[in-house]
Symmetry: C2
């Protein structure tokens, strides 16, 4: 295919658009690949759509190769199936809901577990029909509170979502692994670095879940990895729990006046002045943080998190634990006189405590651990308060921040933290959806058994953004060959008709050989502007036909390495083909 820049619907921009926050968005907008059309909604221009379709093709080929079958659902769906699984409510404000002219409730589907489950129930009834993996590549909608970072977090985007159906857990494990393997091949072909991390399942439910993260500085997700190969989404990291300590011989708790100790630091200073040999640190204190849980039905519940004073609550880790509820700051001390702001101690907490507020503690708060914490009186703290002896709790929660240097839960060494973007997710859903929607098949013995499912998603539009984000330099985009909008960019410079003839003839020869050629045939544009555009647009191979033609040469340039080479014009096509075909 020949794409002539003189007629191509394209305008490159010299300046970054004002609303572009990240490099990929800046370069895709400047290069005329995408254009903002709505809050969180983008229009794909011709070159961008070619990249999109290349990514889609790679995903489709790998899904087909693993034996998954493509289907296609509506995006506009009735409320009822989502009501049956509870997700109509659980999604809260994150989905778009609407009514038709008769007042019936609909949603724009964010994912399709319910519909796939119902479809399989509709068509299949026997263990002989399974295993089955079906997928779609489809437009999805989420009412993001803060659409940002261009294509990374939009309100309308494209995902490949697949669903596996198996009669037993071993089958489900094979389906899960087959998707995981297919995803590894997809990311390799897309030229996207990835780390597979353990993840929490969130609103999806289910037992096992991993994310494919692409390490990127602009990423919203923090993940950890250890020298020994452990990797996890920070929400999924489990704390290494210290051993419990017998109560025997532990000192009695004692309340001390601790005036002017509004912070953990001032408290530690006062404590060490009072007990010079104790060697207290912030980790000796137990901080009790009050938050408001907002349940999907709108109910608001105060909740206290107890954690070592040297750590903050990580809101994303906490939200992953309490999902589908959400977290808001707690401010209503007036309604809870038992909560003495700045001096809250566990003695009044817990559903059985005087304040009657649910109390969850960090896993480090093991029975026998000793703490300095609030005495529930202004200006006073209690010392040597022993967990399990002097106070109890309603449960344990992974809500404390994870720090570089923390031990990996599998003993594989200290964790390092990095930022990444979630590109794909594999979930072992188990039987949650099949049970809610009654998907059963007859097994070998003629008995009805509930099907076990998996759900697997790859962000297709997001992959375009991630590729741009990880394949560019200061001059512009540097597309990997597999997904570049054209195989080669032929640039004709100057005003000499012979140059344009030679360039067009080369372009035609390459098109005839099956390549897609972007041909800069603009008659009145300076060589400087053409070169800048070629660098910005980022085709993997750039051929310049210009002044050298008089000596019978053209220039081949590799966009990624910057290597340039003069080659005889007669060898041009063959050399380009060799470069493209590796």
């Amino acid at each position: 295919m020949l794409l002539r820049m003189s007629t191509l619907f394209l305008r490159t921009l010299r300046d970054d658009p004002a609303d572009a926050e990240v490099p990929s968005h800046r370069l895709l907008a400047r290069g005329g690949y995408i254009r903002r059309a709505a809050p969180g909604g983008f229009t794909w221009l011709p070159l961008g759509w070619r990249v999109f379709r290349n990514v889609e093709r790679v995903v489709r080929e790998e899904m087909d190769a693993m034996g998954a079958q493509e289907v296609h659902f509506p995006a506009l769906l009735p409320r009822e199936p989502y009501e049956a699984t509870g997700r109509w409510t659980e999604y809260g404000p994150n989905i778009f809901r609407l009514q038709d002219r008769r007042g019936n409730d609909f949603l724009l589907a964010p994912t399709h577990e319910e519909m796939f489950t119902l479809l399989v129930k509709d068509l299949y009834g026997s263990y002989k029909d399974l295993p089955l993996s079906i997928y779609q590549i489809q437009t999805k909608y989420r009412d993001e509170a803060r659409p940002r970072a261009g294509l990374f977090r939009g309100r309308e985007f494209t995902m490949k979502d697949s669903y596996s159906f198996d009669v037993d857990d071993a089958g489900q494990e094979r389906s899960y692994q087959a998707h995981r393997d297919a995803y590894e091949r997809i990311f390799a072909r897309l030229g996207l670095e990835y780390v597979i991390v353990a993840a929490t399942s969130g609103a999806m439910g289910g037992s096992r879940s991993e994310e494919f993260l692409t390490p990127l500085a602009i990423g919203e997700d923090t993940f950890v990895r250890s020298p020994g190969g452990y990797a996890a989404n920070v929400e999924a990291v489990t704390t290494v729990v210290p051993e419990s300590i017998p109560f025997e011989g532990l000192a009695e708790a004692h309340v001390e006046d601790t005036p002017d100790t509004p912070t953990i630091d001032t408290l530690v200073t006062v404590a060490n002045e009072r007990f010079p040999d104790a060697g207290y640190t912030a980790a000796s204190t137990l901080k009790n943080v009050v938050v408001t849980l907002v349940h999907p039905d709108g109910r608001r519940e105060p909740l206290v998190i107890g954690l070592p004073g040297d750590r903050e609550v990580d809101a994303k880790r906490l939200e992953a634990q309490v999902s589908p509820a959400e977290i808001e700051p707690f401010t209503d001390f007036a309604a809870h006189p038992d909560l003495v702001k700045g001096y809250i101690g566990p003695q009044v907490l817990g559903t059985q405590g005087k304040a009657g507020i649910r109390y969850l503690v960090d896993p480090r708060v093991v029975p026998g651990s000793r703490w300095i914490t609030g005495a529930n009186e202004p200006g006073r703290h209690v010392f040597d308060l022993v967990a399990g002896r002097d106070f109890t709790w309603d449960g344990v929660v992974e809500a404390a921040e994870v720090r570089a240097g923390d031990p990996a839960p599998d003993g594989s060494g200290p964790l390092e933290l990095a930022r990444g973007v979630e590109m794909a997710h594999v979930f072992a859903l188990g039987r949650k959806y099949a049970e809610a929607l009654d998907l059963k098949v007859l097994d070998e013995n003629g008995k009805l058994v509930t099907v076990t499912m998996g759900s697997y998603g790859v962000g297709v539009s997001r992959a375009v953004a991630a590729i741009a984000e990880s394949h560019h330099d200061e001059l512009g985009l540097v597309w990997p060959r597999e997904i570049a909008p054209a195989d080669v960019h032929v640039v004709a410079t100057g005003k000499d008709a012979a140059v344009f003839e030679a360039a067009r003839s080369l372009a035609d020869e390459l098109v005839a050989a099956g390549l897609t050629v972007l041909y800069d045939d603009r008659p009145k544009v300076s060589p400087g502007v053409k070169f800048k555009d070629a660098e910005l647009l980022g085709m993997p191979t750039i051929v310049t036909v210009g002044r050298g033609l008089a000596e019978g040469t053209i220039e081949l340039r590799d966009r990624a390495t910057g290597e340039r080479e003069e080659v005889p014009v007669a060898d041009g096509a063959a050399r380009v083909l060799a470069a493209v075909r590796g």
Copy 2:
């Protein structure tokens, strides 16, 4: 590609689904091509999705070949651009509207004129950039009052919509013609018969408009054609207007008692009894029909249509004339005492008349024409009431039914009526959208001129339905080669392992040659069921490998013609390839 029926996500049904009203829906559902997922929303199963993508490919290839460039817009769009052109209101209840979490208004776009206009305005500014044709293949939404006929009229469907931008009318005419030609090629490749008819522009505005109708008995659109080649959507047919008649010498109007004449027939009988030489017919009477116009802003206005008594008001023709207003029955005679039910006459009508109600007449009501009509008193009619002399009107309206035998407006003979389905529409929009959204470019003289546009749509999902509707027999579907989900259906019958080996080997050979093969490898299914399925599924070529194999032969069958032929197994692949490649 090899599609094995033992693992294909497919269940054929012996019985028609209860909700399937038309043959295409029945067969596509029975053949496991589609499945209803929501009111007016369908899921494409694997074979159906292959057909869909084949249609999409044909459309894309022809659009690319004519030089149109593919882009892709969001479907979820903000209110503002549609407000600027008035369509936010004009679409009334026919679009889906919704709000995001901040209460901002959005719609699910039914077409994208506004967004394409704004995009071109954003990127282009000179006559040198034009002409431009850009298109997308995209999911569209309409809140249909009555989704029906399966894929023909859904609430979520796929369209190819393109838009052309030209600096002058001559350019617009070329762009229009280029799309019209491309559509002719598309329908020819899809195997869809079509008639190009003159159409009204409706809510789109614009000057010239034609529809591609596929003649189908289940069609909702009535169109007309004449022996001389005239063809039009019935909404667009213009009446041949009789000549005006001088008033001189015409009798004076006279009121007569006409008791017991509740219908036109009884009135004509009484009139002929009273004046035996007059030879009155129903066409001698002037019927005045009251309707309620519902404007997009909700305002309700009574309107009277005057037309010859031998014709009914055609609601679709009337609605096309008054769009974007809609028509409802008029019932509120109580509020309008000047309207004497059954005896309404034009003397009180018109915005200047006593009743103060707008009055539009059929084009046959020319000055000097004489009528028997209501005298605005119960039981009385007026005779020899002369149009233009005894009464006036506010305008002329094409609202009377068109009948077989009516003259074609271009003099090309009597009209015949047929039913069809609108498959595509080409509109010369003119400058309506460019003016509303201020799309101007600099012309050769450096002067700003408003761009002229066209808008062109092809129903992609509807095309699948229309192909099924027009390519089937009593046994099942009969796909044209270009869009069949597989090139050939290889059926292995019986239990002989050698049969399955030979069938698989043939299938593999055909796949290696580039064909898509549907292979019925189901081990425990009877030959009768397999043959029935093959007929229902409708691949163009069916190969049976079965008992004949012992004598070294297999059977080739052409699904469309029913022709069967025994061929030596060794020639099988070559013969199939010859059939497929024509």
